[in-house]
């Protein structure tokens, strides 16, 4: 008996894979499974080939598999595209009559789901619900659980629509029960109940983290894969008194959050590489004016427009260096949904404490992949404020915005709260914020913005996660979204000890920790979704350590468990 399965629903854009995918996620997590799901989609609204991939298991999971156990093809074009990526014994469900496919494959299972949808619901639109029923029937989920999910998915729609979707699901379920006797996929599912378990993706977690952190102003220009952060915050903007403003371009977005932050509110933007390129000057402005900002860079393949809806980790060096001039910054690279949440809160605190730009670097894979988490996983992170309070402001009459201090951090007052005026300037400036050409002041200001703040930030670095490293035969090293695949490889490979180290903060770089962790390692491989081995280069630059090699993937697709195991076997 297997204890995990991979399920795919595939069709063309506009066929509703996301709706059925969300319904399946809900059904499985409420019948006691752990889930990991993502959507593979093209940059188009209709047509093409998209698929929703869902992995379920009786233990926590963090990544995808290479092959599918059950694939449901909703259109003819999906069949040749997906028939070769089935597991041994896998089943590809197709509608031979509808697709006019006569060829035979051992994996093919013909189910006339288009006819069933039309017969039961009166429209082909119900094929998704039939598919839900087919999957539930194959796995042995109770019919009642499928019906429950149909009710939840279509809540708010008319009774008739809910009834038709339930009947469509039942038709698929019954058909499989009567005609498909193979029990390979029968995993014991629990009775459906509301477990309180949450299902969210990385962008949801960042949006929730920002709300929790007290973000009051969010401005962005829509860009995949960052856009849903804006959608989620906008959805709750009224409830939490947040202003979400869609800017005319990314230059406006970054300058708007700087303006809001200067006026005293916590502010954030999110974009992807191309939009971030436009923000680079603004990043430098935030550093020079010492205005805290939080910028999410959700990476996708580039150069230029690249693969708009796919994944990459190729902007590490860009984010580390973006913005002209020298200044302190922080770059986080969360590896899980829980970490995306907690790091977002920390990003706001650190940005405010050090009055600097702070980056949260993710990618399409983390942004769009769903996992089940517990509500208690979102208890980490507390708001810490670093401004002169309104109460304390009343007595301030002789204020210097850029006062020299040992830490490089000047007390940050809010305009109109203090009994004095505040000058902020993008030119080199005096302690009072006025433009200067003075060499001595220029040197001291550079030291304030660069060395002194960096020195404080180095004391507050997120420690790398080290797992199975001691005595390991091989150590994998990654940042950001590769956490999940490295962890599962480490657990899954039993004939040798494979450990991993994950960095959820890449700048300031935890150099001494990395030297400590890697000094006795036999073989170290970085695992990166880029072509340059950028993390390997960063490690070498900051520690002098050279890795044994890098497992690089730069085809716009994420790593998965089987793929990474194959690749490291080839590395010896």
């Amino acid at each position: 008996m297997t204890n995990e399965l991979t399920i795919k629903i595939t069709g063309e854009a506009g066929q509703g894979m996301q709706t059925v995918g969300a319904a399946l996620c809900q059904m499985f997590k409420n019948t006691g499974f752990h889930i990991f799901a993502n959507q593979d989609y093209m940059s188009r609204i209709r047509g093409g080939n998209n698929f929703f991939q869902l992995r379920i298991s009786d233990r926590p999971i963090f990544t995808l598999r290479q092959r599918s156990d059950i694939t449901i093809a909703l259109d003819k074009a999906s069949v040749p595209l997906h028939k070769s990526s089935m597991t041994d014994g896998g089943i590809l469900v197709l509608d031979r009559k509808k697709f006019t496919i006569t060829e035979e494959e051992p994996t093919f299972l013909d189910i006339p789901f288009y006819d069933m949808a039309t017969r039961v619901g009166g429209s082909e639109i119900f094929i998704n619900s039939v598919a839900c029923g087919i999957i539930a029937g194959m796995i042995d989920v109770e019919l009642r659980s499928v019906e429950h999910v149909m009710e939840a998915t279509f809540a708010g729609k008319s009774e008739e629509i809910i009834r038709k979707n339930k009947e469509a699901a039942r038709a698929g379920y019954d058909f499989v029960r009567n005609n498909f006797k193979q029990d390979t996929f029968r995993i014991k599912a629990g009775a459906i109940k509301d477990t309180g378990v949450l299902v969210m993706n990385g962008n949801d977690a960042i949006a929730l983290g920002a709300i929790r952190a007290g973000c009051k102003f969010y401005s962005a220009y829509p860009m995949s894969p960052s856009t849903t952060i804006m959608n989620v915050i906008a959805q709750y903007a009224q409830k939490f008194h947040i202003v979400v403003e869609q800017a005319e371009d990314e230059i406006a977005a970054v300058n708007m959050i700087i303006g809001a932050s200067f006026a005293g509110v916590r502010a954030m933007t999110a974009t992807s590489g191309g939009g971030f390129a436009l923000m680079a000057e603004g990043v430098s402005l935030a550093a020079m004016t010492e205005t805290p900002i939080v910028v999410v860079v959700a990476q996708r393949p580039a150069p230029a427009t690249g693969f708009p809806t796919r994944t990459a980790q190729a902007d590490l060096e860009f984010v580390l260096h973006a913005g002209h001039g020298e200044f302190a910054r922080v770059v986080y690279a969360p590896g899980t949904i829980e970490e995306a949440f907690s790091v977002t809160i920390k990003a706001f605190n650190i940005a405010e404490k050090y009055q600097i730009p702070v980056f949260i670097m993710t990618d399409q894979h983390l942004a769009d992949s769903y996992r089940n988490i517990e509500p208690s996983d979102l208890n980490n992170g507390k708001v810490q404020r670093y401004i002169v309070s309104k109460e304390d402001s009343k007595h301030i009459t002789n204020y210097k915005r850029y006062q020299f201090t040992g830490s490089g951090i000047s007390p940050r007052a809010i305009p109109s709260w203090i009994e004095d005026v505040i000058y902020a300037d993008s030119d080199e400036h005096t302690e009072e914020g006025h433009i200067t050409e003075d060499a001595d002041i220029g040197r001291k200001m550079a030291e304030k913005r660069f060395y002194k703040k960096f020195s404080g930030l180095s004391q507050e670095v997120e420690k790398p996660t080290a797992y199975n490293v001691e005595g390991a035969d091989m150590v994998l090293l990654g940042f950001g979204s590769t956490y999940g695949v490295m962890k599962e490889v480490s657990d899954a490979v039993t004939d040798r000890k494979i450990g991993f180290i994950h960095l959820s903060q890449v700048w300031p770089f935890p150099a001494s920790e990395m030297v400590g962790l890697l000094k006795d390692a036999k073989k170290v491989l970085t695992v990166e979704n880029n072509a340059g081995g950028q993390l390997a280069r960063l490690l070498r630059r900051e520690t002098g350590l050279q890795v044994s090699g890098s497992v690089l993937k730069y085809d716009g697709r994420p790593f998965n468990l089987d793929y990474l195991i194959d690749r490291i076997k080839k590395e010896g």
Binding site: I211, Y236, F262, A263, E281, I422
Partner: protein, 285 residues
């Protein structure tokens, strides 16, 4: 408040005789009449000679990037509606580098006052054409004369639905101060294009040139600035006669009003220490 409450000790870096002095005096005169403490006023600027003005006035100042004053100003106003926000910018900063922000901030309509020092030339970079340089004017770069159609800020602003569109002249500080005051009083974005001679690099549009041409449109009551079509025509007038004054004016709902930011505490005073998100977590299942 008195004009000396707005006195800054910064050394002024403009050329002697620069048209900016008249604008500086008008701004200070207006601010003194507002009855607002300097700490409640924010001047935002970008880059250029006009962008230096905030340093010559004692009030809050954010001197940011070239072309980017408007997004900073709009967001600062959104964050704290108690600030009186003015932008001092130039024809290069606002109509060139920051043109997109001008377009969209007119649409956004936050309650800010935008004063454009329009000297029809690039001063700080020493004499290249600006978006408003007259056709055929010869510069070191436009060696055969300007061939591009000039940018028409007032016509564009009216077309975009701006609620307050005006033109001033830096030599007439009384009139300009009145205009800026009306701009601040107007709820929503006010655009005030200010004719301002560049004594170093614009040899055509001099004090004499402007003085011979400008006339005030609001003095005798014959002109109705609330008539949009008339305003559109008036804004197009350029040559032997150049109108100054309030060209177009209409009441509009501001961004803050539409967003519900006019009531309750300003965003900046919201408590953020303990925001409870548990009530929305059930929607992520």
């Amino acid at each position: 408040m008195d004009i000396k409450d707005f006195k800054s000790n910064d050394e002024i870096a403009w050329c002697p005789g620069c048209g900016n002095f008249g604008i500086l005096n008008a701004v200070k005169k207006t601010l003194a009449k507002l009855d607002r403490h300097p700490k409640d006023i924010l001047l935002v600027s970008g880059i250029g000679q006009a962008a230096k003005l905030p340093h010559y006035v004692r009030c809050n100042c954010f001197n940011g990037l070239h072309g980017r004053a408007l997004p900073v100003a709009a967001a600062a106003k959104i964050a704290n509606r108690n600030l009186t926000v003015l932008v001092t910018t130039g024809d290069g900063d606002c109509y060139g580098e920051g043109g997109n922000h001008l377009i969209h901030n007119i649409r956004r309509n936050t309650d800010i006052t935008v004063i454009v020092h329009d000297n029809q030339i690039y001063g700080l970079t020493k004499g290249q054409a600006s978006p408003t340089t007259d056709p055929d004017y010869v510069t070191k770069v436009q060696t055969e004369g300007v061939i591009l159609e000039p940018f028409h800020p007032l016509e564009m602003a009216i077309a975009l639905g701006a609620g307050f569109v005006a033109r001033g002249y830096s030599l007439d500080t009384e009139h300009l101060s009145w205009l800026i005051g009306e701009g601040i009083k107007h709820k929503g974005l006010s655009l005030i294009d200010v004719l301002q001679p560049c004594v170093s690099f614009n040899k055509k549009n001099t004090y004499e040139w402007y003085t011979q041409r400008v006339y005030k449109v609001n003095d005798d009551g014959s002109y109705n600035p609330e008539d949009k079509m008339a305003a559109y025509e008036k804004s197009h007038e350029w040559g032997d006669r150049i109108p100054i004054g309030i060209i177009y004016k209409t009441e509009k709902e501001t961004y803050e009003e539409k967003r519900g930011l006019s009531q309750g505490v300003p965003l900046v005073e919201e408590q953020i220490e303990d925001i409870d998100i548990t009530s929305i977590l059930s929607e992520f299942t």
